[in-house]
């Protein structure tokens, strides 16, 4: 039996939350989670691309020949990513400078392409929209959670605001790449132990 639209949406928030359940899209999650601000910016960009490409792929799924489907997906995804990049440059330039190369890299983000191939190509427009939105929001929540831990421990701030007194000694390890790995590993571990009953 086909799942309802609500189920398609909510699965992205817990049951299939990327990257903790699907373990996809690790490259940006390790790179942009130094601060909550970056994480939210990246998350919003991914939501836009994911929803847009899912809807468009689903709309065109009957006319895209299966032999060249990956090429078509790439064109659609790349178009949306370039739109995001241009809009970010035009309206939120400082954020664009911080995220830098990771915005164009959304093109090769496994989540976006993976959803186009695994879901949108086989389902209708409304479920695809719900799927994209759910997974996108799930991705943003994961990024923000990881960024919150890293930013609070690593630089003693949250969303750029100082939260500890001046005597706080920043745990520098957390804002560097290995810190991201360790932190992500511990979070995966926690998620798995909650999930398994």
């Amino acid at each position: 039996m086909a799942k309802s639209v609500t189920q398609e949406f909510t699965k992205g928030l817990w049951a299939e939350i990327p990257p903790f359940r699907l373990v996809l899209g690790l490259c940006p999650i390790l790179a942009v989670t130094k601060s909550v601000e970056n994480a939210i910016g990246m998350g919003v960009a991914v939501i836009f691309v994911l929803v847009g490409s899912n809807v468009l792929v689903s709309m065109l799924r009957k006319i895209i020949p299966s032999k060249v489907r990956i090429a078509c997906f790439i064109i659609i995804v790349a178009t949306f990513v370039t739109v995001v990049e241009l809009l970010m440059q035009a309206y939120t330039y400082p954020l664009f400078l911080k995220l830098g190369i990771f915005i164009p890299l959304i093109v090769v983000n496994c989540i976006v392409l993976g959803r186009a191939e695994a879901f949108a190509y086989k389902n209708g427009i409304i479920p695809s929209f719900a799927d994209g939105l759910g997974l996108g929001i799930g991705f943003t929540i994961s990024l923000t959670a990881l960024a919150a831990i890293r930013e609070v421990l690593g630089s003693g701030t949250f969303y750029g605001n100082q939260i500890f007194g001046p005597s706080f000694q920043p745990f520098n390890f957390m804002v560097e790449a290995p810190g991201a790995f360790v932190c992500l590993g511990l979070m995966l571990c926690a998620m798995n132990s909650i999930g398994k009953k």
């Binding site: 078509c72 241009l86 440059q89």
Partner: protein, 196 residues
């Protein structure tokens, strides 16, 4: 055969649609992006040079065609007079081109300040050209004319120790700026009158 044709048509239509959309969006956002880049990349240097001016130098700018390219000039207003103009020049550094903003007062041809905008110099060594105010300060009040060279080449520029190549690059950039300024001075004076 039919399948092949369909593949070609779908891909072509998709590509051209995507290309058209992006081109249109790029045209739409081009001006906005240029403003943003000015504000966040060149803005700090421009505002630093024109500290205390009573206008917004980034809004009050004009362009003059130099050869094939258009150069932007930023106007600074002091004591009700628009006599200071800031523009960008480049020189070769140790790691690539160095972008240099240079302010000059057209009444007495003296440099009012310089500031490095973009560079790819070694952090902590060549990058001091951007961060060390003492290096930039030596250009202040110097006549913007002729060649600028570092001291060990017989010039007047006091190089940053350990970063001779960077210092030379900046000297070249200032020399370039002097050439541009000398050749464009009549035009600049004409344009600046329009901002009064």
């Amino acid at each position: 055969m039919r399948e092949m044709l369909k593949m070609i048509i779908v891909l072509t239509v998709l590509c051209s649609f995507s290309g058209g959309l992006l081109a249109a969006l790029r045209n739409e956002t081009m001006e906005k992006i240029e403003n943003q880049q000015l504000e966040f990349v060149r803005g700090p240097a421009i505002r630093d040079i024109l500290k205390g001016s009573s206008n917004d130098p980034i809004a009050d700018r004009f362009k003059i065609k130099v050869g094939e390219t258009e150069k932007s000039f930023f106007v600074g207003k002091f004591d009700g007079k628009t006599e200071t103009v800031v523009f960008e020049s480049t020189g070769k550094g140790f790691g690539g081109d160095i972008g240099l903003m240079l302010g000059v007062n057209i009444a007495d041809d003296k440099i009012t300040g310089i500031g490095v905008t973009t560079h790819s110099e070694t952090p902590g060594i060549g990058s001091r050209a951007q961060t060390d105010p003492r290096f930039a300060a030596q250009f202040k009040g110097v006549l913007l004319t002729g060649d600028f060279k570092v001291k060990n080449e017989g010039g007047q520029v006091d190089a940053i120790s350990g970063a001779t190549v960077t210092s030379k690059g900046i000297a070249v950039a200032v020399t370039e700026a002097a050439k541009t300024y000398t050749s464009l001075k009549p035009q600049l004076a004409e344009k600046l009158k329009g901002f009064k």
